[in-house]
């Protein structure tokens, strides 16, 4: 494409099928302890 550079394609919908295993880290056990942040966490099943 000439006008658009895609940094990331759609990613969320596909995670509905196998998502939700819950093995990932609880958000407040990370560095913050005061603000809920999940976007920067990693998926345990993709490791």
């Amino acid at each position: 494409m000439k006008h658009i550079k895609t940094l990331t394609k759609k990613t969320l919908k596909n995670t509905m099928a196998k998502g939700g295993c819950g093995e990932c880290q609880t958000s407040c056990q990370s560095a913050c302890k005061t603000s809920c942040t999940v976007g920067n966490q990693s998926c345990e099943s993709q490791k």
Binding site: L7, K10, S27, C28, S30, K33, T34, V38, C43
Partner: protein, 454 residues
């Protein structure tokens, strides 16, 4: 839903519901803003004083293609999925153990009130700690990874119990098919070689509390006699960080309205040699002099911009650092269930007081309204558990309109409660900051992608 913004010379378009992220030129940026409301002809007419008609048409076709590929203007299709997901039986997978309600510092802004949480000074006994770990194992279903954070007050003031609890947890891992991930949050005052060695062997992550530049740290984090803590703790933190080069650690600070120029504090962490860091807005009742106010927001947002620019600059110079909130993985981040289901407080996550009481999280400790049970009787207030269980972005009207909901999961329930008396509300100043952090994090991806290509 689309979120489009300009940052550091980049025109960024986020397709909120699919997770797709695009960097576009000026004409496309303007076309996208009109795309849903106007026809192609109307868009050309509206923009042709600024761009050539052929350019507008080209941009329009590209946008149309991406829409057909479900990478722009996608709908939110997750509400029913999430309702079903939240209705599932939950298990407990993480605990914040308040190993010591006591502290050797007297930080100005401490929500734990010098470690005492509106209550009395107390240390957790080994017996209570073991009961808590037993409860976690028994209530974690088939989850393998169990997280236990040693928190306080200052957990090193009860270090022998920490060590014994780690030993106890490890002794039960095999028979129960569990894997404990222990973490430690410390102010560093009592750190020594023995503690560092143990932490490096057993702790999956260590959070070191430091507020940045000497004058800021010592203003915020003095000893009870008023003397600053910087000089004592920084060399210890540097040593621990060096030893944990290949392991997880975070240097973590708090900024308040008394020192809003926090990008300088993050730079200071990097100058001290730390690689992984975070600085968090203070959580405080609005009447406190250090509490953040609405009028501070422009300055705070500017600081995040400055920090993002510095982050990129140092990365390009080969001196990059990891700032917790800019560390977004666009490709392999969490699944949509995780992103929308809230932080898990009160359901997957519990805080345990030194005497064994359960609260939804560390921020609620001491507020009797939220006392949920204890290590001896288990959860006795299932009504509180149920309320927290259904707390997710679809339960929060403000989140429905917000592009950042897939990154913050609806924000902090305790903050919402403190400001509005309702866990399903949102702490507006916190939301403004969160949105800015997400915008910066994505802009950084765009800038670094450019840099790598050239």
């Amino acid at each position: 839903m689309i979120h489009q913004y300009k940052s550091n010379g980049y025109n960024i378009v986020l397709d909120v519901n699919s997770g797709a992220v695009h960097v576009v030129d000026e004409v496309t940026y303007d076309v996208i803003a009109l795309f849903e409301e106007k026809t192609k002809e109307e868009i050309i007419e509206a923009l042709e004083t600024t761009y050539a008609a052929s350019e507008i048409e080209e941009a329009y076709e590209e946008v149309k293609t991406l829409k057909e590929e479900e990478q722009l203007f996608t709908e939110d299709i997750y509400e029913k999925y999430m309702t079903d997901f939240k209705n599932r039986k939950t298990v407990v997978k993480a605990m914040c153990l308040h190993i010591a309600h006591d502290c050797n510092l007297a930080c100005r802004y401490c929500f734990a009130e010098e470690g005492e949480y509106h209550g009395r000074r107390a240390l957790m006994s080994l017996e209570v700690g073991k009961k808590a770990l037993d409860f976690l194992i028994e209530n974690s279903g088939s989850r393998v990874n169990l997280e236990v954070d040693f928190f306080g007050g200052e957990p090193l003031m009860n270090w022998d119990v920490v060590k014994e609890l780690v030993k106890y947890g490890r002794s039960r891992e095999k028979e129960c098919n569990k894997n404990f991930r222990f973490t430690l949050t410390t102010n560093g005052v009592l750190l020594n070689d023995e503690i560092m060695e143990f932490a490096n062997k057993e702790m999956a992550n260590v959070v070191m509390s430091l507020d940045g530049r000497p004058e800021v740290n010592d203003f915020n984090r003095p000893f009870r006699n008023g003397k600053g803590s910087y000089e004592l703790i920084v060399p210890k933190f540097q040593e621990l960080a060096k030893q944990r080069e290949d392991m997880s650690y975070y240097v973590r600070g708090t900024f308040t309205r008394e020192h809003l120029d926090f990008s300088e504090d993050v730079k200071h962490y990097a100058d001290l040699g730390f690689k992984h860091m975070s600085i968090e807005p203070v959580v405080a009742p609005p009447e406190e002099p250090y509490a953040l106010r609405e009028e501070d927001i422009p300055k705070i947002l500017e600081e995040y911009d400055k920090l993002a620019a510095e982050y990129i600059k140092r990365k390009k110079e080969g001196k990059g650092f990891n700032f917790f909130h800019f560390n977004i993985d666009l490709e392999q981040g969490p699944c949509v269930a995780k992103r929308l289901s809230g932080c898990g407080s009160g359901t997957e996550y519990l805080a345990v007081t030194p005497w064994g009481d359960f609260y939804p999280c560390h921020q609620f400790v001491g507020n009797e309204e939220f006392l949920m049970g204890n290590v001896y009787e288990g959860i006795t207030r299932t009504d509180i558990q149920d309320e927290f269980k259904m707390c997710n972005v679809y339960a929060k009207p403000k989140c429905r309109e917000c592009f950042a909901r897939y990154y913050c999961s609806g924000g902090c329930a305790a903050n919402a409660y403190n400001f509005h008396g309702n866990i399903n509300d949102a702490y507006d100043i916190g939301c403004e900051m969160q949105r800015k952090r997400v915008e910066c994090a994505i802009m950084i991806k765009a800038a670094l992608s450019d840099y790598e290509e050239n």
